[in-house]
C-alpha cells in the first residue's frame, strides 16, 4: 500500500553544531537505490522524524547539484527538534519529501541575484546560493546579506568564510547592535539597514529573502525603495505543517496550501493573498 | 506502549511467578534517604520497586501516578516526610490535600486503591521502608497484574 505518511529511513552521516542551539545534519538514505534516484529542487522542504517524538518540517539546505545526500539545519525549539538535536552521527531518523514548489532558478539566467537572510533563515537560501555558485557563469553579480542577533548565532560560519574569500560573491555579514564581539570584522546593524548600504541594482535583478517576519517586512520596503519589482522578490513562507501533502489542513494561508503550492512565492503573489500570516 | 511491556504482561499472565512492577515516587529528603539508609545498612527487600526521586512530595503531580499505570505499573507507592518534617516546611501538607482528593477520584473511577499506597517515611526509618516495600509487593502480587490499565485500548 502506498503510505503517504511512512517516512524513509536515513542515517546521520555527519552532524555539525552551528550555534549552541542550531545543528546541521548530513543525511543519507539507508536504501541505496534511493540514494541514487532521489532528486529535489532548490527551495523544497522535507519532514524529518525523530521516532517516538514526531515529525518536524524544514527545508533541504544543500543544492540539488550536489547529489547523494540531504542536508538540513534546524534550531532546537520543541519536542521534535529537541529530539533530533540529541541525535548524533550514525543514528537513524526518518525523512519524507521532497515537498512543495521551488525557486525558478532557470528563469534567472543572466540576472544579478541578491540573497537576504536572517538567523536561521539562511538554510533555505543556502540551497539557492549553492545552486547558483555551482553554475556561477549563468548569473550576474551575486550579493549576500546575512545577519543574526549575535556573532555566536551566525550559522554556516565555515561557508561564510568561503563565500567571503571568493571574488565573485559580495558578502555582507552583520550582527544586531550589541551582538558583536571585539574581533568581529563584519557589519553591525539590522539586515534591512545593511541591505540599504549594499544597494543592489534593481535592473535585471532578483532578490531572495528568508528570515524572521519583521526582517522580511522591512527588507521588502528597502527593496521597494531601491526599485525592485514585487515580481522579482522571492521568499519562502513557513507555516506549521503535519502532513506535507495538502491533507491535514493547517498550513493554508487563505486558500493556498503552503505545503503543496508553496512555500516559494514572489512578493507580488503574497500581496494578493488573504491576510492570514 | 512499548512492546517490552506487553510481552512481559503476557509472560506474567501465563506463569505463577508474577513479579509486580511497583513505581515509588519519593521525596529526596526523607523517604529517599530512608531507602538509601536501608541500602547502606545492607538490608534486603523485594526488588520489585523502581524509585523516582523528587525534591518534595509537593512536586508529585497526580498525573505521574496515572502515567505510571499507563506505562505498566502494577502498583504505585507515594512517600515523603512525616507531617511537620518537610524540608520545604509544608510541601507534604499540600501533597496530603491533593492525595485526599485524588485518591477519592481514583476510588470513584473504580481503580483498586490497594494499588495506590501512600506513606510517610523519614530518613531514619530504613526498617519501615523495608517492611513497607515487602508488604506492598506481597499485597500487589496477590492482586495480580493490573489488567484494568493494561487492557486499555491504545
Amino acid at each position: 500500500m502506498e503510505n503517504l505518511y511512512l517516512p524513509k529511513l536515513v542515517t546521520i552521516e555527519d552532524a555539525y553544531l552551528e550555534t549552541p542551539d542550531v545543528k546541521s545534519f548530513r543525511l543519507v538514505f539507508k536504501d541505496e537505490a534511493l540514494r541514487e534516484s532521489f532528486t529535489f529542487k532548490t527551495g523544497q522542504f522535507g519532514l524529518y522524524s525523530a521516532f517516538g517524538l514526531g515529525e518536524s518540517t524544514f527545508c533541504i539546505s544543500n543544492a540539488p547539484t550536489r547529489k547523494g545526500y540531504i542536508q538540513c539545519t534546524f534550531r532546537k525549539t520543541g519536542r521534535v527538534t529537541g529530539g533530533l538535536f540529541d541525535l548524533s552521527i550514525g543514528d537513524t531518523m526518518g525523512f519524507r519529501g521532497p515537498f512543495g514548489n521551488h525557486f525558478p532558478i532557470d528563469e534567472w539566467k543572466g540576472k544579478d541575484i541578491t540573497f537576504i537572510a536572517g538567523g536561521i533563515g539562511l538554510p533555505p537560501v543556502r540551497s539557492v546560493i549553492l545552486n547558483c555558485l555551482d553554475r556561477r557563469e549563468d548569473f550576474g553579480d551575486i550579493t549576500i546579506v546575512y545577519g543574526s542577533r549575535c556573532v555566536e548565532d551566525l550559522v554556516y560560519k565555515n561557508e561564510l568564510q568561503h563565500w567571503n574569500d571568493r571574488d565573485d560573491v559580495a558578502l555582507y555579514q552583520t550582527v544586531d547592535p550589541g551582538g558583536e564581539t571585539p574581533d568581529w570584522k563584519g557589519e553591525v546593524g539590522f539586515v534591512p539597514m545593511i541591505l540599504e548600504k549594499a544597494a543592489p541594482k534593481p535592473k535585471n535583478s532578483i532578490a531572495v529573502i528568508c528570515g524572521p517576519p519583521i526582517m522580511i517586512k522591512f527588507s521588502l520596503s528597502v527593496l521597494e525603495e531601491l526599485g525592485f519589482s514585487d515580481n522579482d522578490v522571492y521568499t519562502t513562507l513557513e507555516n506549521k505543517m503535519k502532513c506535507g501533502v495538502g491533507k491535514c489542513g493547517r498550513c493554508n494561508v487563505g486558500d493556498i496550501y503552503i505545503c503543496k503550492e508553496g512555500p516559494v512565492y514572489t512578493a507580488a503573489e503574497i500581496k494578493k493573498m488573504y491576510y492570514d500570516f | 506502549m512499548s512492546q517490552e511491556n506487553t510481552e512481559e504482561t503476557q509472560a506474567t499472565e501465563t506463569t505463577e511467578t508474577f513479579e509486580p512492577k511497583i513505581m515509588a515516587f519519593v521525596c529526596n529528603w526523607c523517604t529517599y534517604a530512608g531507602a538509601d539508609l536501608a541500602g547502606t545498612s545492607r538490608m534486603e527487600y523485594r526488588p520489585n520497586v523502581r524509585i523516582i526521586k523528587l525534591p518534595c512530595t509537593g512536586r508529585i503531580d497526580p498525573l505521574f501516578i496515572i502515567k505510571a499505570f499507563e506505562n505498566g505499573a502494577d502498583g504505585v507507592l507515594v512517600s515523603g516526610c512525616h507531617p511537620g518534617d518537610c524540608h520545604y516546611t509544608a510541601g507534604n501538607y499540600h501533597a496530603k490535600r491533593r492525595w485526599i482528593a485524588f485518591r477519592s477520584l481514583m476510588e470513584f473511577t473504580g481503580i483498586d486503591t490497594r494499588r495506590l499506597q501512600f506513606s510517610w517515611i523519614s530518613a531514619s526509618e530504613a526498617l519501615k521502608w523495608v517492611d513497607l516495600i515487602n508488604n506492598v509487593t506481597d499485597e500487589i502480587k496477590a492482586l495480580g497484574p493490573f489488567m484494568d490499565f493494561k487492557n486499555l485500548k491504545g
Binding site: - | P62, Y93, A101, S104, L105, G110, W120
Partner: protein, 297 residues
C-alpha cells in the same frame, strides 16, 4: 426584569462605567439564548434574560478569550451560579473585583439543555444545580436585577447526580471501572468540557504540553481516561458545579458525576465549598495541619 436589565446596561455604557456588556440575546429564530457583547447604548434592547440563558458567561472574563478582554471593562450579566465562578476567578487572582461590573440576576432556574424548552420552566427540565441552588439571589454583585426570591434549598443536596454518585459508590470497584470506561470511551477529545469551563483558564493546557507528552492526544481509551481524570483533578476544590462541561459535551459524558464527587470530597475533608467568598484561598493551595485522612501509612 429585562427592562430593568436594559436600563442598567444603558446607564453603564453611557456613563462609561463599562465598555462592554456581556449578556444574552436571542438567536435569529428566537428559539435559543446566545451570548452577546453589547458595546453601544442603543443596542441594549438586544439583551434578554429568561430560563434559556443557561451559558455561564464568566468564561469570557478569562485570559483564554483575549479579544474580549481587549474590548475594555466588562459588565457581566450573571446568575448566582455564574457568580460562583467569578468568585473563584477573583480568589485565584485571574480577575480583579474592581475590573468587572457584576449585574446579578435573580433566577428561578434554567433549563439543562435549551432544546428541552417548551416555553415553560418545569422542574424536570431544570438541572440538579437549580434544585439545590442557594444563590437564586446572587451573592456578589454590583447591582441586582429582579425581585427577591424565596427559595430554601434542601438541607442535604438532592437530585439525580447525587443519587447516581451514591449508587456508584455502592458498587464494586470493577463495576465502577467498567461504567467509567464506557463513559470515557465516548470522548472524542473535542475539549468542549475544557473550553466551556471558566476555571480551565490555562493558556496552554496540560494536553498541549508535549515535552514530554503527558496526556496522549489520541481519542483511544488510554488517552481518554488520562484526559478525563486529569481534567477532573485540576478542578478539585475549584469546581462550582455549574454544569457547563457536561452540557457542552457532544458525547453526553456524565462529567457532573466526577465533578460533584470531588466537590463532596472536598466538602467532607476540608469543609470547603467553592464560589462563595472571594477572599478565601481555594483549598488546594492552602492546607491545615489538622487535615485528616486514613490511608497514609
Amino acid at each position: 426584569m429585562e427592562k430593568a436589565l436594559r436600563e442598567k446596561a444603558r446607564e453603564l455604557l453611557t456613563t462609561g462605567e463599562a465598555n462592554v456588556i456581556i449578556g444574552y440575546e436571542w438567536n435569529r429564530r428566537k428559539t435559543r439564548a446566545t451570548p452577546a457583547f453589547i458595546t453601544k447604548a442603543d443596542e441594549v434592547d438586544r439583551l434578554i434574560f429568561n430560563p434559556l440563558c443557561v451559558n455561564n458567561l464568566s468564561i469570557y472574563l478569562t485570559r483564554k478569550n483575549k479579544d474580549i478582554l481587549r474590548m475594555g471593562k466588562p459588565a457581566i450579566v450573571a446568575k448566582g451560579c455564574d457568580i460562583k465562578n467569578i468568585v473563584v476567578l477573583i480568589s485565584e487572582g485571574q480577575v480583579k473585583r474592581e475590573d468587572v461590573v457584576i449585574i446579578g440576576m435573580s433566577c428561578n432556574g434554567v433549563v439543562y439543555k435549551q432544546g428541552l424548552w417548551k416555553g415553560e420552566l418545569r422542574p424536570e427540565i431544570m438541572p440538579v444545580k437549580c434544585h439545590n441552588c442557594d444563590v437564586r439571589n446572587p451573592h456578589l454583585t454590583d447591582f441586582v436585577i429582579g425581585d427577591h426570591i424565596d427559595f430554601t434549598p434542601p438541607e442535604t443536596p438532592r437530585g439525580m447526580v447525587f443519587d447516581k454518585i451514591a449508587a456508584l459508590d455502592a458498587k464494586t470497584p470493577g463495576e465502577r471501572w467498567s461504567f467509567w470506561l464506557e463513559e470515557f470511551s465516548r470522548c472524542i477529545k473535542c475539549y468542549a468540557c475544557r473550553q466551556a469551563c471558566s476555571l480551565c483558564y490555562c493558556e496552554r493546557c496540560i494536553t498541549e504540553k508535549n515535552v514530554p507528552q503527558w496526556i496522549e492526544t489520541s481519542a483511544h481509551q488510554r488517552g481518554n481516561i488520562a484526559w478525563n481524570l486529569v481534567r477532573a483533578m485540576h478542578l478539585a476544590g475549584r469546581c462550582t458545579f455549574c454544569g457547563e462541561c457536561e452540557r457542552s459535551c457532544p458525547a453526553n459524558i456524565k462529567l457532573n458525576l466526577v465533578n460533584q464527587k470531588l466537590v463532596l470530597t472536598v466538602k467532607d475533608a476540608f469543609d470547603f465549598k467553592s464560589g462563595y467568598d472571594e477572599k478565601i484561598h481555594p483549598p488546594m493551595i492552602v492546607f491545615s495541619p489538622d487535615d485528616t485522612e486514613n490511608f497514609i501509612k
